[in-house]
């Protein structure tokens, strides 16, 4: 699996995944929670008070699709991709383990360890 290296803004988020901690970027000025991490708060434009706060790792399936042809030659299909609305508000993309998913199903985070020590969050029932 190819996951590009972090950059200056996303390094903190990826560092937490090494300890299987699911974090979200949070604005200390206005309290806004956003994902993916950015150099500014999209709610109040602050660039100084952004930090990573431990998140619940819980959410619900906003919508999903079962992919029957993988874009990566040789990779196994079918598999399920979902938009998940996290309890804290932001949407994230993830594969979903298992089958027969429905919109509204609750999910929680699990981890797929990467070769470089980081971990990719993968949601499940």
């Amino acid at each position: 699996m190819h996951v590009p290296p972090p950059d200056d803004v996303t390094a903190g988020w990826w560092d937490a995944t090494r300890e299987h901690r699911y974090t979200l970027q949070t604005c200390g000025s206005c309290g806004h929670v956003q994902h993916p991490p950015r150099a500014l708060c999209t709610a109040c434009s602050s660039m100084v008070d952004l930090g990573f706060v431990e998140a619940s790792g819980h959410g619900v399936v906003d919508t999903f699709t079962v992919v029957h042809r993988s874009p990566v030659p040789g990779a196994a299909a079918p598999y399920t991709i979902a938009r998940i609305r996290l309890t804290e508000g932001p949407f994230v993309l993830s594969t979903l383990e298992g089958q027969d998913w429905r919109i509204g199903d609750p999910v929680r985070v699990g981890w797929l360890d990467l070769d470089d020590g980081r971990a990719l969050p993968v949601f499940h029932r």
């Binding site: 919508t63 999903f64 699709t65 079962v66 992919v67 598999y79 938009r83």
Partner: protein, 380 residues
Amino acid sequence: MTGVAIVGAAECDLGSTGKSTLTLQTQAVTRALADAGLTLADVDGLATTGVSRFSTTQLAEYLGQQPRWVDSTFVGGSAAEMMVARATQAIDAGQASTVVISFASNQRSARSRSLGGIVEEHTPEAQFEAPYGPLYPLSYYAMAAQQYFHRYGGTREKLAEIAVAAREWALLNPAAFRYDAGPLTVDDVLAAPMVSSPLTVADCCLVTDGGGAVVLTTLDRARDLRHPPVRVLGYGERSTNTSMTAVEDLTVTGARESGREAFARAGITPADVDVLEVYDSFTITAALSIEALGFCGPGEVLDFIQDGRIRPGGELALDTSGGGLSYCHPGQYGVLLLVEAVRQLRGEAGARQVPDARVAVAHGTGGILSTHATVVLGVR
């Protein structure tokens, strides 16, 4: 209303051509100019995408031009509609007098399209979305369809009507890739191989070579040219997202705002539209666009399109060339929406001509419901 008109429109070779992108671009530009009764010597503005990193500069040099005005707005399938707005403003402002907007690709011959799309390593999507293996753009449209079905009780059967109707139109268009393919049924669409649920291969546009161009100039000059001027009555646009996780509600697209602005500028409502050309990259793309543009109410489109309403002879003439689904899809299909709208307004559409068409709307959609641009055109 603006003081600008489209005076030329043409396709390049379509289908499986074996030609280079620049050859197809050259065909599109020169044929559209010939249609207008003009030559490259009359052109002082050029707009295109999909040629190279400096798309319009590249094409201009290839054609031996040093334009006064260029535009390479790179927003996928709505680019040509946005370029109509920019070109109209440039002509109204006197920065250019005659502009050609073109697009062409040889993606079928070159086998250059991949299921996962193009992911740029430095973007947030590369770190946070691409690792999960979504098909790009298909999986996003699939998730929009899934959410729409869930919200409003829609079905794959009802959505399939978009593809079925597109085929009916294509059977009337000798230039269509599926002209000789015979009718498509709802059962055909449902039985086609599933790619990203709930969308099958038959919910997806073609992958072909092709493209086209349109020529714009001042209304004053247009009156001296060979065809009745097709006036640019209005335009509007919205950019909403590049990722799959930015938009709150996948059932409502930026077409709502782009359409509202374009219709207000033109002084029309959906009831005034005789021909509606919307980008049908997927069946759901067209359905969401019809609804967001206000041709029906929220949650109504899958019922609205039934009973032949969008087929030839129906109440709403939709995607009259056969669309990206059955006519031609070179990627960034927006320019071909304009070409077909012009032909309908001039009464040149042969067996698929919509009687007495006076107002046409071309609505482009780019990326993953990312960019939305609406153009209102009219004659008389």
